[in-house]
Symmetry: D2
Subunit: 363 residues, 4 copies
Amino acid sequence: MHQMDGTADTPELTQLYADFEAESLAPLWTQRDDLMPMSPSPKAVPYVWRWKALYDIARRSGDLVPVGRGGERRAMGLANPGLPGTAYATPTLWCAIQYLGGHETAPEHRHSQNAFRFVVEGEGVWTVVNGDPVAMRRGDLLLTPGWNYHGHHNDTDQPMAWIDGLDVPFSHYADVGFFEFGSERVTDEASPDVSRSERLWAHPGLRPLSGLQDQTSSPLAAYRWEHTDRALTEQLKLEDEGHPATVEQGHAAVRYTNPTTGGDVMPTIRCEFHRLRAGAETATRHEVGSAVWQVFEGEGTVVLGGTEHRVETGDLFAVPSWVPWSLHADTQFDLFRFTDGPIIDRLHFTRTYLPGRRNEDLA
Amino acid sequence: MHQMDGTADTPELTQLYADFEAESLAPLWTQRDDLMPMSPSPKAVPYVWRWKALYDIARRSGDLVPVGRGGERRAMGLANPGLPGTAYATPTLWCAIQYLGGHETAPEHRHSQNAFRFVVEGEGVWTVVNGDPVAMRRGDLLLTPGWNYHGHHNDTDQPMAWIDGLDVPFSHYADVGFFEFGSERVTDEASPDVSRSERLWAHPGLRPLSGLQDQTSSPLAAYRWEHTDRALTEQLKLEDEGHPATVEQGHAAVRYTNPTTGGDVMPTIRCEFHRLRAGAETATRHEVGSAVWQVFEGEGTVVLGGTEHRVETGDLFAVPSWVPWSLHADTQFDLFRFTDGPIIDRLHFTRTYLPGRRNEDLA
Amino acid sequence: MHQMDGTADTPELTQLYADFEAESLAPLWTQRDDLMPMSPSPKAVPYVWRWKALYDIARRSGDLVPVGRGGERRAMGLANPGLPGTAYATPTLWCAIQYLGGHETAPEHRHSQNAFRFVVEGEGVWTVVNGDPVAMRRGDLLLTPGWNYHGHHNDTDQPMAWIDGLDVPFSHYADVGFFEFGSERVTDEASPDVSRSERLWAHPGLRPLSGLQDQTSSPLAAYRWEHTDRALTEQLKLEDEGHPATVEQGHAAVRYTNPTTGGDVMPTIRCEFHRLRAGAETATRHEVGSAVWQVFEGEGTVVLGGTEHRVETGDLFAVPSWVPWSLHADTQFDLFRFTDGPIIDRLHFTRTYLPGRRNEDLA
Amino acid sequence: MHQMDGTADTPELTQLYADFEAESLAPLWTQRDDLMPMSPSPKAVPYVWRWKALYDIARRSGDLVPVGRGGERRAMGLANPGLPGTAYATPTLWCAIQYLGGHETAPEHRHSQNAFRFVVEGEGVWTVVNGDPVAMRRGDLLLTPGWNYHGHHNDTDQPMAWIDGLDVPFSHYADVGFFEFGSERVTDEASPDVSRSERLWAHPGLRPLSGLQDQTSSPLAAYRWEHTDRALTEQLKLEDEGHPATVEQGHAAVRYTNPTTGGDVMPTIRCEFHRLRAGAETATRHEVGSAVWQVFEGEGTVVLGGTEHRVETGDLFAVPSWVPWSLHADTQFDLFRFTDGPIIDRLHFTRTYLPGRRNEDLA
């Protein structure tokens, strides 16, 4: 008789496995350990993309490929080498560098996929979200949650580049996406410093009485660098003064939230900003779910699955699920990160493990 | 035989009603229409208190009654004339003017009752909440949610007065309150401009990673006037520009929220700030639940149950449940209000009625 | 100068306190310890009502007072001796014995107040809830949540009595109640064994696809004795077999729930059923919030605030907030209880203390 | 210059696209319409598996392949022809026929993946969930939520087959799975009719006081056919009597729920049972998210993406996202279905479209 290891060593077994295939069936026992590993074994790999190389390709694309209807965006996706044939940074997350030349416009459209932009350098582009023009400046996080019309236009004669983050891989995988084309030009070409959404919503702890209905995604279209920077600065000062404020010694961090719920900005994407003091080091963490980080400023090293990488402003790296990561700061070290945390949390798969620390029950 | 109207007109009935009392029973049928009216029929009455009179009594109390352990606070409660024998502004809400002379200290204590302070004039006092000194300035809302130690100290040689709002009547009614004395002096006599709580939490849309646990009450101890004022100013400008932002024409308003949930600042008390343009008028509203308002700046009239009252800076008025109210602004008219809305909402008794408007189903 | 104890010992103070009253103000410092006690100090008292006495008065009321429009119900409310001038069992809870003679009808009406009936003996009455006739039998819990039309009719020639529980005191206190008269006769005089609501909802763990919207109150109008009895029986058997199932040794209990949420049956009232084995004894508990119990079957003692009372079938007792209670069973001892737990929980005032046990943090 | 269609028609463009690949990047514009289609365009196809063929292969596997540690289960997964190289019924859902010979044991293990079993015929196996033996009988739904130890043993000398449903594809995709081996034998070989979990939880509307903490997954391990059948029978009778109870004319349905929340039984899997009267026909529906159905009893047709399939007892079919489906019943037609609905709902991608009907806003 045959052991439960999948080897087809008799004519009957050979026939059985052939019939499996003919009937669109497959045995569990030959693939159980691949399908259900002892701990997450992602195909995606930890990987670092260099901003200089990305920006160079973006600039050349700007010269060679016009932006327009159909392709919609001049966006170049980080393609995780462990996920060949895709342009996915991780199984769930899309991350691209988007480039818009002087006075170019990326046409309006809307889609179920949730999206944000984060700006590591430059300014001069307005993203217009449901008719509300939102300035994009260094250090800002800009949201375009699912099914909001949006386009971008560059109001200057200089190019600008930034990163886009979306749940495109998840949406493609789970077959949840809808798409509609909108206006060829943005629907409002004004270039105000502050969006209407901020004027309504960016007041700490205050909610307009005209907006008491909770919203699936944040109604705040822009999270400005001046607020993020101030929040992180204060956390480190509080730590200096002996008060609890930071994640761990020398490591300040904020999560961007939906002011109508206090939860994540969008149902599938979590956004955070981390700051390490010069010389600080994080614990090593294993986390369920995947992440993409971008260095915003400073220099340091990231250790991904045991391998150390030096990274500097603009560099991006992907951390697949359960791959241990830690950071070390040579200078003050500022990093933006986004993850699929809301997916993991809402479906109750959250687990974190810190080797050498006391860990809560891991189930 | 006896009709169901409670008149005891036979010896048997007389005996029956006597036996009711002897057995600690009472018939429903003689009191049903009082107990269960067709619509809310509060005993509390609409009432206006004048700031000048309050302040005068507060000042005299400051001269005659020292603040100290036992009495705890030099606070004078608004006593609704419809609720004799109490110092309740409405059945659920306590509102008092509190007065602290130069260099006086109100000792620390904590209690289950939720409390806030709102400042209509003056400055120079710090309220110390769980060891965090919080400056009190004109237009600020300061929170001391249930079971947080708090005391106040006046860092100047000038007196200061403000209003306290608490759920003392509800807590007393429902027998839910605990109380503990704390330090005679405040536990931190520093006088920083900004509290530690604000340094951690008062960044729009940002949440510290060290504070991801949701909290019953807002972790933000102070809502500063500059933010409130800016939010209201922007709503009216947006209205001018043709965008939806206000409650109704000329009427801007914000609700103070708990940034960990987007909901009310405390489980029993809702706080809001309203601004009317000069000349604006609100709709008339009936609302389940009671409220206390204070004019912060400007002049106008409030119509309470059909009676018009002129009110000006500092004046307070109580609006019992279902009493129709409306406001008319002579100048720009700024008002703070607090209500028992979270109690009403969480227990699903919410109803609003606007005479002459389309109303949603009233059940 | 005057100490903060309220004694008016100078002409200035006498004048000050007179002016307080004239201005509808009251000092906090003279009443702070009454208003804000160290722990809940209810005016309501622990009290036992005897079923025999209640039933006798109910029967005599049935002879002398017809049921009908206006008075609406032949219901006799438990009047807590600590709350004189009311017919309140506790500050928040109404409990009455209701009596309906053979072939009598209590007319239909609806109100915001939430109500239930619990049957300690007898049968033959149908309560008709929004047109759905619901049989009332011994041991059953029947719900009429706020704003559902309901009437009762006795389909037999024998009288029937049961208890009603409502949030009438809370609704009256907080001014939240609306009331409407309905049909003089019940709108469906059928007398089915099982209501339509049960046919849709009383299937364990199953929810009709036509009822996927969550509901404020349970859509299940009847919780039948056979289910309650079986659940309690199984808990005690599981305990016998060595498995965790009971609250404490020999003490089984169930909470009645809203199947659309798993939470309490109504937003203001919690209903439970407790069973003690003969000889069993509960721990002594202090709980925030008030309760009314009815002995359903068996004999035992209840200790309320240190005083022991023997109780038997039908006897009712009120337990005000924080009054310590414990039960001792002489025979198998079955008790129904209802509380204002949802009010206490939703407003975050919950606390429990078990003297001599380890208690979780009491804040 | 190059149009945004991806054709590399100059040396510069050819070099650019080569450099994309070298830098682990990929352009969005050449793949945007595949990645972000106008509506969901699943690779999975609608497909029907025949029970007779499945059972025949299962029986032969029973003869040839022993069940045991490593392979763990003699389970044969439905392999959607649109997802080659996998054994996935849909992108998110695993469905397998599992076969256990007389007196065989499938060893205990636990995993993060959520699982259930549904029994279309036979009996005699007990699934032991965290030490609680749960009988498996025709029509029953049995749960083994994530991280619960479970094994199966056949207490008879006859084989038994059933279907397993899991979120294995989702867990593999999102890299969230953990796995641990347990006992080689089941930890309790008893064969009670009713599990302990049912004895605690299968009482309609009742919750043990020892189980007041809400649970991520249902604590009820078995949903028995007698309850499901009765619920469906009553819905159709109520429809006959003129009362709202069914999804649409002649179509009764229940959702299996977690009694602690009223929501889905597990965080990733929704389970339902549908019954059509003979002659009834459903509307055609497009739904976001994928499903697997099994005919439990009766005969009829299912139309999947416009193609009609006759199906009978035991037959299974997969419905990928947004593929229109409808059912027509020749006899009374009973079907079990499970879907990834909780994933879709919790991440806010839910949409339904009924051609020819009024549809709510589709965004």
